[in-house]
């Protein structure tokens, strides 16, 4: 143990105060434990009783995967918890992680009529977790594979989109080979979601549950464009699903981005998620996060929970324009994170190659609605700067596309309503496709829809 984290001599803490082990083991346990503890049966029954069992319920329409929410809640109310879980999982095989990570406040719970009635929606996410946790804990696999079709489908990417697609295809009787570039499956559930939202190795437990259906061969450490080629997959399989995710991050475009202390938020969160002992992870005493999305929130809150003293998110527009939901913004603020709006970074300042300060200018919208400097600004002392200004799709692994190009749209893969790409035999879904919501739940829906479309195509061609 070093000296108490924030009580070092003035000389030592002036710059470059990036340290691990700022907290006690108990504090790490508390800070990275379940942020929303599960409902027990008594609480679940009280909450379930609040559901009005609406006709053609608005919450169902608001769920990207169309889960029969009143249906599963009614089953919870009668202690038919298995039935409830199956109702969820038959629409969304990642119902367990979605129960934990979905921004329900802008989806099902916003649509809940209890919001209109009393400003307090039914806790749909928590109830969904209650039901799905029960089934997972009991190890019940309620789904069966249909008779084998003899068809083989390649899925690239073992995130929610790819595995949802694989699971549905396997249920429909097809054999699926899943290729994953990283060493573990799960995609952002494993590498990207804030640690306190998916505790106890849930991502891996859920993947194991999904795979327990059978018929899905998972190969990790196989990257598209390196170990496997799209052309080869199209040749060797009856269909291909691309669930590639987003491989790159935006840069600030400022001098000094390579300076020590300047970090890419996505990479840092990934390291944090993979760190078995959070105490070993260094974090700055003063942390600045630039961005307005959930990655910015997650980087900021997790820094705070690692023991950072001052954490500030700076976003170039107002709270309404942040892609992080109001709920997430509030969560950051109540976690002790400050949020400054209408300012953008103009300079990264360091000493001896070590970050010391970030300078900002105020911003505003000009009459045409463009973001411009507003004159004036401020500087924030910083030991760490997280860049969280968006992720981008990296198309290079798709190949040179000389023969038959795969059409991109807004820098991502273009797909139709069935998640078909412009390339025959190739479907795509999740964060790598254009027009998506960048949500786990919409990735699952993409995978499911693609699987149904692939199944129709294969049966038609049979």
């Amino acid at each position: 143990m070093g000296p108490p984290p924030n009580e070092r001599g003035p000389g030592m803490s002036e710059t470059g105060d990036v340290a691990a082990a700022r907290l006690s083991a108990a504090d790490y346990g508390k800070n990275f434990g379940d942020v929303k503890p599960p409902l027990d049966r008594a609480r679940a029954l009280v909450e379930a009783s609040r559901c009005h069992f609406c006709y053609d319920a608005p919450c169902i329409a608001a769920c990207p995967t169309g889960i029969d929410i009143p249906g599963f809640i009614r089953k919870i109310g009668t202690d038919n918890v298995k039935g409830a879980a199956v109702t969820i999982l038959e629409q969304n095989i990642f119902g367990g992680s979605c129960a934990r990570v979905c921004p329900t406040e802008i989806l099902c719970e916003r649509a809940c009529v209890r919001s209109a009635q009393e400003g307090k929606p039914v806790k749909i996410g928590a109830l969904q977790r209650y039901a799905t946790d029960d089934l997972l804990a009991r190890g019940i696999q309620p789904f069966r594979r249909a008779a084998a079709t003899g068809r083989r489908v390649a899925v690239v990417g073992a995130g929610p989109a790819g595995l949802a697609c694989a699971h549905r295809l396997s249920m429909l009787g097809h054999d699926v080979a899943v290729f994953e570039a990283k060493t573990k499956p799960g995609g952002l559930n494993e590498y990207g979601i804030a640690a306190y939202k998916l505790t106890d190795d849930f991502a891996q437990r859920e993947v194991a549950y999904v795979l327990s259906l059978g018929g899905i061969a998972l190969s990790c450490g196989k990257a598209l464009g390196r170990d496997i080629e799209l052309a080869g997959l199209r040749r060797d399989y009856d269909a291909v699903f691309l669930g590639l995710g987003l491989g790159g991050v935006n840069a600030l475009g400022l001098d000094g981005e390579a300076m020590k202390g300047v970090e890419d938020a996505v990479a840092y969160i990934e390291r944090l998620r993979q760190a078995p002992d959070k105490a070993k992870l260094p974090v700055g005493r003063r942390v600045v996060v630039i961005g307005g999305g959930n990655t910015a929130i997650d980087a900021a809150v997790q820094s705070k929970r690692l023991g950072a003293e001052d954490v500030t998110i700076v976003y170039r527009r107002g709270p309404e324009q942040m892609s992080a939901t109001a709920h997430e913004q509030e969560f950051a603020q109540t976690s002790g994170v400050g949020i400054k709006h209408w300012a953008r970074p103009v300079a990264i300042v360091g000493r001896d190659g070590m970050l010391t300060e970030v300078r900002f200018e105020y911003t505003k919208l000009d009459p045409a609605g463009r973001l411009v400097g507003a004159g004036g600004g401020f500087a924030l002392r910083a030991d760490m700067l997280f860049k969280a200004i968006g992720q981008v799709f990296v198309p290079a692994p798709l190949g040179d596309g000389t023969a038959e190009p795969l059409r991109l749209s807004q820098g991502k893969i273009g797909v139709d309503a069935e998640r078909r790409t412009s390339l025959s035999k190739v479907w795509a879904g999740g964060d790598c496709v254009a027009g998506g919501q960048d949500l786990t739940v919409s990735a699952v829906e993409d995978g499911k829809r693609a699987a149904l479309s692939i199944d129709r195509a294969l049966r038609k061609g049979a």
Binding site: L45, S49, C54, Y55, D56, A57
Partner: protein
């Protein structure tokens, strides 16, 4: 504040709220706590003959829960008091002495023999209590021994025992009736013929509340077996209100005081009983659920409501709704209601629509426009049945409003479709 003093069959109490004969009134300790809490009276838990007391089982209660609301319906398989007669008598005497302003009635159940009744009446009268209530209602256990509802189901027995009691005591005699009969008027009229000073009803309803699906046994379960019990609580109120009102409007029972019992938990419940002819009310399940403190709101709430409505005392409300209870054949067939949905209050749950669409008259349209849900009544299809109003979870969102038909009152007795109609006068 309105005068809540109650005078019932010659028994006086500071308010009409009595505790019914049941576990809450089995001992001095409980009854004193109740009187301290403000209850106007109590009917002491049923006494039996001198000698070895009855023996009770465990468990004793069953209950149903609806949507998280506990004890909506409640049942018991407990017998009459299992304490020695002399202990009860001593305590009754003490309580009456200490609480002279409260109504203290003693419930009795002994075998159907005149001597048995004569004997118990003498010792009970000696306590100074205000009256007796003959337990002809208890539907479980004691009925197997020829008492309780076994008597209450035979009007001739009711009349006979009531007559004996009137002969052998000066105390007011209340006859407590069982609802486990096809027509409550038979027992009520028998009580009157026997000279009863009043009737009290209902006692509990034959019931099995639930089945333990693991043990495959009715609940409450006693060592793997169950037996039917007596059902009470909020769920039985409609049944009891009907029976009370039937007696209240029966010419043969005219003027006979009625103590209303069954699912009374609030002042509003009590006011409804009073309006349908009860002169006092008795409460048990609500007290067993929440404790004696509930009487505070009952007293307060009833008084405030009476003040608001300008009712000075109980006589202003007792029986006031009885003239409006009639037979179906006298209801006005030309009266027309339709449902009105207050769109400002509507939360778009669609329960009105699906209830009407699936199970009634397809009179509520499901409209989707501009991404919004909207539910509208089709007046021409609406029969004014009230279903949507009851299904709606938002109070006051759906109103039933009268449509002026301009037609005169017309009931079934004169309706053209009635082949047995009366000729027009």
């Amino acid at each position: 504040m309105a005068d809540l003093r109650c005078s019932f069959a010659g028994i006086k109490s500071p308010n009409p709220f009595w505790l019914a004969s049941a576990p809450p009134t089995d001992k001095e300790y409980n009854v004193v706590r109740a009187f301290k809490a403000g209850w106007g009276g109590a009917v002491w838990k049923t006494l039996g003959e001198a000698g070895p007391p009855v023996v009770n089982v465990t468990s004793r209660y069953g209950a149903i829960e609806v949507g998280g609301q506990r004890m909506v319906g409640f049942n018991n398989i407990e017998l009459i008091t299992d304490r020695p007669l002399e202990v009860n008598l001593r305590e009754i005497k003490q309580v009456k002495r200490d609480w002279p302003d409260r109504a203290l009635v003693v419930s009795l159940m002994v075998p159907c023999a005149e001597d048995a009744w004569k004997t118990i009446l003498a010792v009970v009268e000696d306590t100074g209590c205000d009256g007796v209530e003959l337990n002809f209602g208890c539907p479980h256990g004691m009925s197997e021994r020829g008492m309780g509802s076994a008597v209450g189901q035979v009007p001739e027995y009711i009349e006979m025992v009531t007559r004996w009691c009137k002969q052998h005591t000066r105390m007011p005699v209340l006859v407590k009736l069982t609802p486990n009969v096809t027509n409550i008027l038979g027992p009520a009229r028998a009580a009157r013929r026997g000279g009863a000073d009043a009737v009290s009803l209902i006692n509990t309803v034959n019931s099995i509340t639930n089945v333990d699906l693991d043990r495959m046994a009715p609940m409450p379960t006693v060592d793997g077996k169950g037996t039917h019990g007596g059902y009470c609580g909020p769920a039985v109120k409609p049944i009891a209100l009907f029976m009370v009102a039937e007696i209240a409007r029966d010419p043969e029972c005219a003027g006979m005081p009625i103590s209303g019992i069954g699912g009374i938990a609030t002042w509003r419940d009590a006011a409804e009983y009073l309006a349908l002819g009860a002169g006092s009310v008795q409460v048990c399940t609500a007290a067993m659920h929440y404790g004696f403190k509930i009487v505070d709101d009952m007293i307060d709430g009833l008084g405030n409501w009476m003040d608001e409505k300008g009712h000075g005392d109980l006589s202003a409300i007792v029986g006031r709704a009885v003239p409006n209870l009639t037979d179906w054949q006298h209801l006005n067939l030309n009266y027309q209601l339709v449902a009105r949905i207050d769109q400002a209050k509507c939360i778009k749950c669609g329960l009105c629509h699906i209830a009407c669409e699936d199970t009634s008259h397809q009179a509520i349209r499901d409209i989707r426009a501009d991404g919004q849900r909207r539910f509208e009544v089709i007046d021409a299809e609406c029969v004014g049945c009230n279903l949507c109003m009851h299904a709606c979870p938002v109070p006051g969102c759906i109103d039933m409003v009268e449509v002026k038909t301009g037609k005169p009152h017309l009931d079934w007795t004169r309706h053209p479709n009635n082949l047995l109609r009366k000729a027009a006068e």
